[in-house]
């Protein structure tokens, strides 16, 4: 990872510390004992399916909701109870929330005028930030005269012009089409590096989170399941949910037994031991690229786990070949990917699927 120059204090210090945050709406717990620390200049993503509490957490940080209990520290000071206009934090809204009755330029200048900055400074800073997002030529337009992508940039410019300590982004790319979304992911990352502000982005799109973020918190049902770098999340998911949410994963359901996992109908699959207690429900998880197909006459190595299977479909997806197989006695499809451009495997053919014992993980259900 690239070493960043320190912004304020030392680079390992935390800008945001969320400590045991709980948020209840009536009897529903939207946040259930959430604790996360976010570093200076970090691009941090809150990732999870809808209703997991990620947007609630973001709104608590912005001051639009108040936590029921727990602390939200910004530079070591508790923000709980303070209003949105009292926090050095700005939000980019999912709907962009541009002021429809103001020109682009006035939308961006709004926050600086609220601070009663000198006119010359406002002019310079607004022009500068509009230049950064490439919209200086559209300053005179009204929001309804802009395309979706342009509006997104205005919202971004308006949120960063005040140079907040932290920028909160609520599904910033959800309203864009697929192609533009890909470009903006890189653009956001470049901009974050350029302005040196801590970004906290909420997204339900795992690819978006992995592409942009330095670290990702995976959430479900108000709880944080894992906080890690994208690589760690991919290579060492904490449990079945994280593994299924991040990338593609094959699972074999079973029960933890001494020396491996007792898989339904298969007997013991010897695999890397985990810290799960014997007898607990668990999954054996194998990434599609970690598995190989062995044709007739190819012998497995001693480090391999092998299971018999039948080929169901072979799909060429550009950079790789995906082979869908069905393990004997297991209902779910198992996917094996290979970057060899070989589509000669026959549907219906019997094969052995093999993976190195060390590449499979035993994950809690």
């Amino acid at each position: 990872m690239i070493e960043r120059s320190p912004g304020r204090g030392d680079p390992t210090s935390y800008v945001i510390e969320i400590e045991h945050a709980i948020k209840e709406f009536g009897s529903v717990r939207a946040l259930d004992d959430v604790s996360i620390s976010i570093r200076e200049n970090e691009f941090f993503a809150l990732l999870g399916p809808s209703g997991c509490g990620k947007t609630t957490l973001l709104r608590c940080l912005g001051g639009f909701e108040q936590v029921s209990s727990g602390r939200l520290l910004l530079d070591g000071r508790d923000m709980v109870g303070s209003k949105p206009y009292e926090r050095p934090v700005n939000m980019m809204f999912q709907s962009y929330a541009l002021f429809p009755h103001m020109r682009v330029w006035d939308n961006v200048a709004y926050g600086l005028r609220a601070e009663r900055r000198p006119a010359q400074e406002i002019r310079d800073r607004v022009d500068d930030v509009l230049g950064k997002v490439g919209l200086l030529h559209l300053s005179e337009r009204r929001p309804n005269q802009l395309s979706g992508g342009e509006r997104q940039r205005v919202a971004l410019a308006r949120a960063i012009v005040k140079r907040p300590r932290v920028l909160l982004l609520d599904e910033p790319l959800a309203a864009l089409d697929r192609k533009l979304r890909g470009e903006m992911q890189i653009e956001l990352k470049r901009l974050q590096h350029e302005v040196g502000i801590t970004f906290i982005v909420v997204t339900h799109d795992q690819e978006e989170a992995l592409t942009m973020a330095d670290r990702v918190a995976v959430m479900r049902a108000g709880r944080v399941l894992q906080v890690d770098t994208p690589v760690e999340l991919y290579d060492h998911p904490a449990n079945h949910f994280v593994a299924s949410f991040i990338g593609k994963m094959n699972f074999l359901r079973g029960v933890v037994a001494p020396g491996g996992l007792q898989v339904d109908l298969h007997g013991l699959v010897r695999s890397r031991p985990s810290d799960l207690a014997d007898g607990s429900d668990a999954y054996l998880a194998i990434r599609p690229e970690a598995a190989r197909l062995l044709g007739a006459g190819v012998a497995p190595t001693p480090a391999d786990v092998t299971l018999p299977a039948i080929i169901e479909a072979v799909a060429f997806v550009g950079s790789q070949v995906q082979t869908h197989i069905r393990l004997d006695g297991v209902a779910t499809t198992f996917v094996v990917t290979s970057d060899k451009r070989d589509v000669s495997a026959l549907v219906g053919a019997r094969v052995l699927v093999a993976w190195l014992m060390d590449d499979a993980q035993v994950l809690a259900a």
Binding site: K83, Y85, N90, F93, A97, L98, F99, P100, N144, E171
Partner: protein, 271 residues
């Protein structure tokens, strides 16, 4: 087959023509007769004149009543729009009771005569002196309901995150209302004001009950008409017609022309 369809179309066109004639012919006759150079408002055409319009502007009683009506309408409009807007905001954002919600519009459905009697009884009961003040209050009763209904349609497409964005950018709640909320719903408020003003100017029944000795414009016209429909009355009515139409058309244009929040929601955006 084709011929019968053409036949149906012709019948529909005749039907439509008759219907529109039924709706608008009386008004056309009224306007035409206001330019008739005849002493009494007879149906025979005696040549073009604008003298009846001149007579209207030289009638001190009529002008006095018109002045009274304008003041009453202006005051009733101010009260109605201010309270109606707040009511609309409250209903749109905080009411969970659908009964309370629909109860707001009930005064609009109550027959004028019933409302007139009710207000007269009530004002007598609380010993409110009848006059211009009581008419203002009476007109505000349905004026508030009207204003609330019109402003509310404007609020329906209102994206509340723009208010949150304003708070987020460092502006407190009250200035946010004046800099963001109010400008965005202003077309609805202006439209409500024009409609309430128009309705107040030509409202007769409720004013008649609650006027005491005050003479409003419609009451003055009514007292003139008891001595027969004169061309002067036709001229007055034509002026009132033109005035109402201009205000209503302006109200419609204002409310339609400037868009509130973005008309196009961002594609694929969900909560």
């Amino acid at each position: 087959m084709r011929e019968s369809r053409a036949g149906t179309a012709r019948w529909l066109r005749i039907h439509m023509t008759l219907l529109y004639a039924f709706l608008y012919l009386p008004l056309v006759v009224l306007v035409v007769l206001s330019f008739n150079d005849a002493q009494r408002a007879v149906v025979s055409w005696r040549g073009f004149t604008t003298r009846w319009y001149g007579a209207v502007f030289e009638n001190p009683e009529l002008l006095g009543a018109l002045g009274t009506t304008m003041v009453i309408a202006a005051m009733a409009t101010t009260i109605s729009v201010a309270l109606g807007t707040l009511l609309a905001l409250g209903l749109e954002r905080h009411t969970r009771s659908s009964v309370l919600d629909s109860a707001v519009y009930f005064p609009l459905l109550v027959p004028d005569i019933v409302l007139g009697i009710a207000l007269l009884s009530f004002y007598s009961l609380i010993r409110l002196p009848l006059g211009a003040g009581s008419i203002v209050l009476a007109h505000s009763v349905w004026g508030i309901a009207f204003a609330a209904a019109i402003v509310r349609t404007r609020l329906r497409g209102f994206d509340r995150s723009i208010e949150e964005a304003s708070l987020d950018l460092g502006v407190r709640e009250v200035p946010t209302f004046f800099r963001i909320t109010l400008p965005v719903i202003l077309p609805g408020i202006v439209s409500a004001a024009l409609v309430v003003f128009t309705l107040s100017v030509d409202e007769f029944v409720i004013a008649y009950f609650t006027a005491g000795r005050t003479v409003t414009f419609p009451i003055q016209v009514y007292s003139m008409i008891r001595f027969g429909v004169t061309p002067e009355i036709n001229a007055v009515a034509t002026l009132l017609l033109g005035f109402s139409m201009v205000l209503i058309v302006v109200a419609l244009l204002v409310n339609r022309g400037r868009t509130t929040s973005d008309p196009r929601p961002p594609e694929g955006a969900t909560g």
